[in-house]
Amino acid sequence: MLEIENLSVETNGKRILHNLNLTIAPGETHVLFGPNASGKTTLLMTIMGFPQYKVKQGRILFKGKDITHLSIDKRARLGIGIAFQRPPSIRGVKVRDVARSSLGHRKNGKVVETIATKLNIRDLLDRDINLGFSGGELKLSELFQLTMQEPDLILLDEPDSGVDLENIKLVGKTIGALLQTSAGLIITHTGHILNYVNAQKGHILLDGKLHSQLEPRRLLDTIEECGYAKCAECAKCKD
């Protein structure tokens, strides 16, 4: 589904990722751990194609196609979807309108209501997108839009942060449902989301490179015990 080869990325003139390699097979869910500012978000944004993240070397293949220099919208239409951690608010642009336009020809408008109701955000449909939304509402609105988009690969940046105990269940279940039909790459610090998704592989991103590749929960336990750096070095984790 996704193949990243020798990827080096710069943003604001600073090298963030170095010769990074990653392969995600169809249906697989991978989890990304790492300290703050290690480049996790950079990796997600680069896969999605945000131009402020400049690919200096290497390439990204999606469904066998080289997408390294494709625009964001073309990648979205090929089947990559992202849930933003801090989505911008846009005055006058309604949640419903964005959901509708990302639908394309695949679904009818009724589905908008049905899925919004399921996610308990029907009230948000006619509000300006992300404007004055609570932490939980932001997450659910992002997942709602991803659901409408039906991507084949979803990129999630800390979907479990800033969500209260009640909403985390809904967020987790929704992501779980999305991952039934899609591959995924998830950034998490706390690992709460692991209670809801069946993730096969975990990685530590440190110094711009991926380390280890282990069952995510085991990896999280080890990080908690030894810290990121030690865990990344640990030979027994390497495959």
Binding site: S71, D73, I90, G92
Partner: protein, 404 residues
Amino acid sequence: MTKKDLAKKAITKLSSYGEDINLELYSTDMEERAYTSDPSTLPPEEKQCMLDVGVAPDNMSRKSATFIQVDHSIVHSSTNQEGLELLSTTQALKKYSWLDDYWWYAVNVDADKFTAYTELYKNNGYFIRALPGVKVKHPVQACLYLAHDNLAQKIHNLIIAEEGSELHIITGCTTSHMISSGLHIGVTEVYVKRNAKVTYTMIHNWSPQTIVRPRTGIIVEEDGVFMSNYICMKPVKSLQTYPKARCIGENATTRFNNILVAPPGSILDVGSHIRLEARGCRTESISHAITTGGTIIARGYISGSAPDVKGHLECQGLILSERGIIHAIPELEGKIAGVDLSHEAAVGKIAEEQLQYLMARGLTRAQATAAIVRGFLNVDIEGLPPQLDAQIKKAIESSEKGLL
């Protein structure tokens, strides 16, 4: 000195804002147009222009009154609600001698050459009055139409909402597609009495060479509410308007929403000037301005001279082309402790972050731009009857099409 004398003295007085206009370049004489009791019989071309500014000559049942003036002539004037008066101001001045107290009170007759010219050579205008306690159900629709080339149309309107009444007015000002140049001067005086409410929606749709100089004054008494929505999205050579509102009674409220688009060659100088003169008065003035190559000057002035008043000015400006100017000029004047006045302005291009966000949902850059511009203009206006709200949205939508 009489008002006529004051006008004669001010006939060459330059306006404080906007470029000077040589009034002699425009003709003033125009043959009378015939009155019709059924405006649906007007020529289709004229009716379409009226529809584009929110006035429906074919459908008067969902309007409480309809007024249509073409050039200098009243072509239609009717009302179907009790307690609502609609006349031409020429007739109204003859009928009510007490109108003299309202005539040139909210607007000074010698403010500039345009007010003076209107006093000396006036061609009608509408008089709308809601009697005390009357809540006018449907909107009043009024159309001021310029049909002939190079004509100067000088109109004086008067609106009175008596105590406890409620009035919604939509005024559409437009020109025939046939004319190339013209001058429209519209003096409008609005009196909102104690506990009355007026919403005043105006849609302008001029031909690209028209000069427009509205002169508006509003006086709001205790617990009165005045809300103005002004929409001008089509090319106009030069438009300058700076309505002056005075909140003179306790808890009087005014609100101004301006939606402005300046295509190349258009100059729009639009503001709202508000004085909060009694305890607890409130005002808010919000402009959404887009230039696709023209110039927009968004002015705003609020003064607070009584305790516990609150006022806010806001200008959101989008520059959608390489050329194009948006100049926000907010002014606040607090004259006493305990006032709360603020302003906020942002002028620039569409935020890249917003575009990228929508592109990540699969919208192309062009689709994302269109969605953001549409949202920018899609201002939710509180307190309007749904029918009027829908009409405004329709007018905005039809103008958007030519925008991108």
